[in-house]
């Protein structure tokens, strides 16, 4: 509560980000989502250093155990600790999600800005975007996995080769929505007076884009960044689930889910952990994105 008896406003002018944060705090779902996502990220980043078991530590005597104090999620058919595998899997899944999001965001922003700013490029680039939008994403991804898996595994080793392949293929098949949104915003911004003013004092195109256009399209980019992570995590898990992702001994959430499905009749509870992890992460990110969208929108923020 502000003190109405104060004669003069003593506070300094509020920055935009302060307003965004205030609005963001009002969206309870987004706040909870943000906290949950942050917790999951911390858990998978710090977990391997704290947790006593290794993800690939085989202990055949302790196989197929239920939950206990030493193994809170139980052990799998080779006696590997499921919790340790979940942490390792989450590490991969979230890293893939963030890397693929970064790639798709870079591509989308580049193409969106180029199409929106330079009228000559607009037609070509937007047809190109339409073509990519008409590609059937999942089948094309599966085909890419089939074709480039072995050469890349030979070139970079089975794990980092797959990592590169998955990140690149998710990245280049998911940049289209970002490009479209950015293009629309850039087209509107380009006609504004401050851009005209900047141009009239001789600012180069590159500087106009870097200083005036990009900071103003930051909010849609940030929103699509959060949704991009969720999308990439789901896609990577789907590929791993279909057995076309990372090699079998390399845990990711999708892979763990796939392994658990084979033991569905005997140990149905095993499906829960990776499935819940994926869903919880994606759900929290979606809520986060929802809140960010509201917070970034100046029309909603004023209310």
């Amino acid at each position: 509560m502000t003190n109405t008896a104060e004669p003069l406003p003593q506070q300094p002018a509020r920055s935009k980000w302060r307003d965004v944060w205030d609005q963001f705090k009002k969206h309870k779902g987004a706040l909870v989502g943000g906290i949950i996502f942050f917790t999951i990220v911390m858990l998978v980043m710090v977990g391997p250093f704290v947790w006593p078991f290794e993800a690939n530590e085989v202990n055949i005597r302790l196989r197929n155990q239920g939950p206990s104090w030493t193994h809170p999620f139980g052990t799998d058919q080779l006696g590997r600790d499921t919790f340790a595998r979940m942490i390792a899997g989450g590490r991969t899944s979230i890293t893939v999600g963030i890397a693929a999001m970064a790639l798709s965001l870079t591509l989308g922003t580049l193409i969106g800005v180029a199409a929106g700013y330079y009228r000559r490029l607009d037609g070509v680039l937007m047809r190109f975007t339409d073509l990519f939008l008409s590609l059937p994403i999942l089948p094309v991804l599966l085909v890419m996995m089939l074709l480039f898996r072995e050469p890349l595994s030979e070139a970079y080793g089975p794990e980092s080769g797959m990592f590169v392949l998955i990140v690149v293929s998710i990245g280049i098949t998911s940049w289209m929505p970002t490009a479209r949104i950015v293009r629309g915003d850039v087209m509107a911004l380009k006609e504004r007076e401050f851009v005209l003013a900047a141009r009239s004092i001789g600012t180069t195109d590159r500087k106009i884009i870097m200083r005036h256009i990009l900071p103003n399209v930051l909010s849609p980019i940030l929103v699509s960044a959060t949704l991009g992570i969720a999308n990439a995590i789901i896609t990577e898990s789907a590929l791993s689930f279909l057995g076309l992702g990372f090699p079998p001994d390399f845990p990711t959430w999708g892979r763990l889910l796939n392994d658990a499905v084979n033991y569905l009749q005997l140990y149905p509870e095993r499906v829960l952990w990776p499935g819940l992890a994926i869903s919880l992460t994606v759900l929290s990110i979606n809520y986060l994105g929802d809140g960010l969208r509201d917070a970034m929108d100046p029309r909603i923020r004023g209310r």
Binding site: F148, S237, V282
Partner: protein, 335 residues
């Protein structure tokens, strides 16, 4: 409107050609040897012969032209022959699967009904659930029902089918034992009992796919209803003394359906793509499972054909959505 439709049709032809080129090049320029599975004891000159028999010796543009010819000229002829009993396609080479050595399209035709049944049914069920939810949550904006609806749609967005699938299997097939966990495609409906069995085995896959449809469509329905509920014509209708039911279900609903119908058309191909995973979980032998099988077996002609068919569906339904928009909304007549 007619000129628009024709123009739009003409635009989709180069789009399709380009997509087929991309898919073709992706498959053919990739470092991948179809002869990799052939035993090492086969002498190299025999291998070369086999390679030529598969049409791999020729330059890439001839291969592409031949594939186009096979796909767009010979396969439709086969279809016409099949329907009318004519003999246009006799002696022509068709797209042959490397896996089964039989024409790819024959297998596709065998498998499409299963996919259509499961996917189509789930889409219908999803829409039937989604529309009332969307309408009611918009009408009671910010009510408990609306909040719950938002939460359920968020869950529908966030929980991927490869988790809901095993989850419903665990609950309904393993724990409760009410429903079968796999889809038996050999099952034939001849009387009431077999119909019940068929119904039971369809519930789980349809449920999993319908959850996603419901989440998306109800979201659009709600947003579109909200846009329309504040319009002036709604106030006019209420002022005229029309009943609340007529105002909402006739005036507002009809206007709100315009974007929703196009979204329904646009999302249909994506559902086919998503069905790949659901088919895999419930062992439905539809075209999605055929694609996965072909990918595991390195069967490039089948992969190429199916991927192109998925792309064709997307382009086709984009076209339908564009035309529907113009037809339904007199404000957006394109010419």
């Amino acid at each position: 409107m007619l000129t628009f439709t024709i123009r739009r049709l003409l635009i989709s032809i180069p789009t399709l050609l380009f997509i087929s080129l991309v898919i073709f090049l992706l498959l053919n320029l990739a470092p991948n040897d179809p002869m990799a599975q052939v035993p090492l004891t086969v002498p190299p000159e025999v291998k070369e012969k086999m390679r030529e028999a598969l049409g791999l010796g020729q330059p890439i543009y001839i291969q592409f032209a031949k594939w186009l010819m096979q796909f767009f000229w010979i396969e439709p002829q086969v279809l016409i022959d099949h329907i009318f009993g004519t003999t246009f396609s006799e002696g022509d080479l068709r797209v042959i699967s490397w896996q089964t050595r039989s024409p790819v399209m024959d297998i596709v035709i065998q498998r499409i009904p299963q996919t259509l049944w499961v996917v189509g049914m789930s889409y219908v069920v999803g829409i039937l659930i989604a529309l009332p939810i969307g309408i009611y949550s918009a009408y009671r904006h910010y009510s408990v029902f609306d909040q719950a609806g938002t939460f359920v749609t968020m869950i529908g967005y966030s929980i991927p089918p490869f988790f809901t699938g095993p989850l419903v299997i665990v609950i309904f097939a393993v724990q409760l034992g009410w429903l079968p966990s796999t889809y038996d495609t050999l099952h034939q409906v001849i009387d009431w009992d077999t119909f019940v069995v068929q119904l039971k085995q369809m519930i789980l896959p349809v449920m999993v796919l319908a959850l996603q449809t419901t989440a998306q469509i109800s979201r659009y329905m709600r947003a579109s209803m909200l846009d329309n509920l504040n319009q002036d014509y709604v106030r006019t209708a209420r002022a005229k003394g029309l009943s609340e039911w007529t105002v909402v279900m006739v005036h507002v609903l009809r206007n709100s359906m315009i974007p929703v119908v196009t979204v329904i058309a646009l999302n249909l191909p994506a559902i086919f793509g998503g069905a790949i995973i659901t088919e895999q979980i419930f062992k439905v032998n539809g075209i999605g499972q055929q694609l996965i099988g072909a990918i595991y077996a390195n069967d490039l002609p089948t992969v190429q054909t199916l991927t192109f068919m998925f792309a064709f569906l997307i382009v086709f339904f984009n076209l339908i959505a564009d035309i529907l928009y113009g037809l339904l909304d007199p404000r957006i007549r394109y010419d």
